[in-house]
């Protein structure tokens, strides 16, 4: 019963979204190439998966997202910890991190494609770049917010530096770190698509361009967008599940 109560508003919101979408199409009398109706997109979505168009592109994008997120988040954890615990590191790195974050990834992506090619490396780098900042900042904030008393207690019990970091600091900072990862994992999806737009042979970003610019198959474009959204939501839910397992529901 409790689970039903939790799922019901989500299902109601989805139904409302589809109904409003359908109403806009009917009232506006929009043709398919401007705004396809939800049932047209749903049918194209099923057909694209059934005839195998979507699968290879999804595998490509998902690989880029997962590897890019892994690399970006791992680096961000290390740098975030350093920023939290070393004034020198903060002074040295902060300006560059903020500058990198402020630079539009859309402008950087073609350069990265030029330097690292249009293969997996460039996409992973773009995903890692876009994931890095939110995870690094959340890690830094999380580590800094660890109760000083707790750290003193650890030291008084002769815990090693490694033990303090692993058992106290990271454990206590986990809610913030995982909060950053929630944001980061959805940004990784955007990073992969932007990277594919800058140059690729496969991936959901490529399929969007094909559907829009070569095939003029707008329902396929919407079906691809739906797939991307589903990937983003699924990865977000995975992080939430991990968070619940490690931190508990809040």
């Amino acid at each position: 019963m409790k689970r039903l109560q939790a799922v019901l508003p989500i299902a109601a919101a989805a139904v409302l979204f589809v109904v409003v979408w359908k109403l806009i199409v009917v009232v506006g009398n929009y043709p398919v190439f401007i705004l396809p109706a939800p049932e047209v997109v749903a049918s194209r979505f099923v057909r694209a998966w059934a005839d195998g168009i979507m699968t290879p592109h999804t595998i490509t994008t998902l690989s880029e997202v997962l590897i890019g997120f892994g690399v970006g988040a791992a680096l961000a954890l290390v740098v975030g910890y350093l920023l939290a615990r070393s004034r020198l590191a903060e002074r040295l790195l902060s300006p560059y991190l903020v500058a990198a974050q402020a630079t539009p990834i859309l402008a950087l992506a073609p350069l990265i494609a030029l330097w690292f090619g249009t293969g997996l490396t460039g996409k992973v780098l773009i995903c890692a770049l876009i994931v890095f900042f939110p995870v690094a900042v959340s890690t830094m904030v999380g580590i800094r917010s660890v109760d000083r008393g707790l750290l003193e207690l650890g030291r008084s019990l002769r815990a090693t530096r490694w033990q303090i970091m692993a058992k106290l600091e990271i454990s206590a900072a986990l809610p913030q770190i995982l909060g950053g990862m929630r944001v980061g994992v959805t940004l990784a999806v955007i990073g992969a698509i932007v990277g594919e737009w800058a140059g690729a042979d496969s991936g959901l970003g490529v399929l969007i361009n094909l559907a829009r610019g070569s095939l003029f198959d707008i329902p396929l474009m919407f079906a691809t967008l739906l797939t991307i959204a589903l990937i983003g939501v699924s990865l977000y839910l995975v992080v939430v599940l991990i968070e619940r397992r490690l931190v508990g529901a809040r």
């Binding site: 190439f33 030029l114 140059g199 829009r212 095939l215 003029f216």
Partner: protein
């Protein structure tokens, strides 16, 4: 005295009467018909006919109030289909898949009578024919769009497919640099761009075109079907004015360059290159067919060949069968 007053009054009455009579007979000037025109991605010398027609008053004299809007090809096709743009310059190879997907547009006038997308290579590469591409490397911006279709057509003319050569993508359009630096043996480009730049740089260049084997439709004037019905006279006047400007530029390319510089002053930085690009563009406007049937003429036989070729490709972008009658109209041509 009274007599002179009467005379002056009479003259004044006559003058007023004449003046009133004149005003009464004058036809009110009809308001100009607004036309929103879509051009390519960014303003450039390639759009000189439109700029010249505008600046020379050809559009205004035809009762048109023309505004230009730049955008990429896919965007223009959709905007024209939706009626947000009245007419635009778009790839013929985009019209075929777009119409097959139900986008209500039609090709109404040829601008590029030759297909401008080509394969180019340094003469020193030894590539002289399409067959010579076998086993070579080639750079292309993306494995889609008009360049990809042209490549497939060119290779098919020699019994080859895209798997018979090694293809690298250059999404940042860096394939010219790649050819110059020897990263690839050849690349796709536009007859009025990369080969011109290579020649100006002193590199002898070989250009392979697709026209003799598969006459793909080049960029031309595309209109929405509902706009065609609603503004036929205005669109016909627009096509005539644009063709007039094209003829002017064929006769005097410098006038076209000046018109383009008036719109994009940055082009004046390198007039030699821009004039060379314009001359190469002018060469694309005419073919044996337009020589026989007039500038802007549409060759239905060539369109049928293109539809057949594109429909038969393994990775065809033509979703549903289309006929040439659905794709082109001769109604707007002079």
């Amino acid at each position: 005295m009274r007599r002179s007053i009467d005379v002056v009054t009479g003259i004044l009455i006559l003058l007023v009467a004449c003046s009133c009579n004149g005003t009464g007979n004058a036809q009110p000037t009809p308001p100009a018909t607004p036309l929103k025109v879509g051009l390519g991605y960014i303003p450039s010398v390639q759009f000189a006919p439109f700029y010249l027609a505008d600046q020379m008053g050809y559009y205004r004299n035809a009762g048109l109030d023309v505004t230009f809007q730049n955008g990429d090809d896919a965007q223009l096709v959709t905007l024209i289909g939706s009626g947000a743009l009245d007419i635009g310059l778009s790839d013929g190879t985009s019209v075929i898949p777009a119409v097959s997907q139900g986008i209500p547009i039609v090709y109404a006038g040829t601008v590029y009578a030759k297909f401008p997308s080509v394969v180019f290579a340094k003469t020193s590469s030894g590539i002289t024919t399409a067959a010579g591409l076998a086993g070579k490397t080639l750079g292309i911006p993306a494995k889609e769009g008009s360049s990809w279709i042209m490549l497939e057509a060119l290779l098919a003319s020699a019994g080859l497919t895209t798997s018979d050569l090694s293809i690298s993508t250059y999404p940042d359009y860096g394939q010219l640099v790649a050819v110059e630096q020897g990263q690839v043996d050849s690349a796709t480009g536009f007859a009025n761009n990369e080969p011109v730049q290579m020649q100006l740089a002193g590199d002898p260049v070989t250009v392979l075109t697709v026209d003799s084997s598969t006459p793909l439709p080049g960029p031309g004037l595309v209109v929405g079907t509902s706009t065609l019905a609603a503004k036929k006279d205005a669109l016909r006047a627009f096509v005539a004015a644009t063709l007039h400007a094209m003829k002017d530029i064929i006769t005097d390319p410098q006038a076209g360059l000046d018109a383009a510089i008036a719109v994009v002053p940055e082009l004046a930085q390198d007039k030699t290159t821009q004039l060379a690009i314009l001359n190469a563009t002018i060469a694309q406007w005419t073919s044996a067919y337009t020589d026989a049937h007039g500038l802007g003429a549409i060759d239905p036989t060539a369109w049928q060949k293109s539809v057949d070729f594109m429909s038969g490709l393994p990775d065809t972008v033509v979703a549903k069968p289309v006929t040439v009658d659905q794709l082109v109209t001769q109604e707007l041509l002079p």
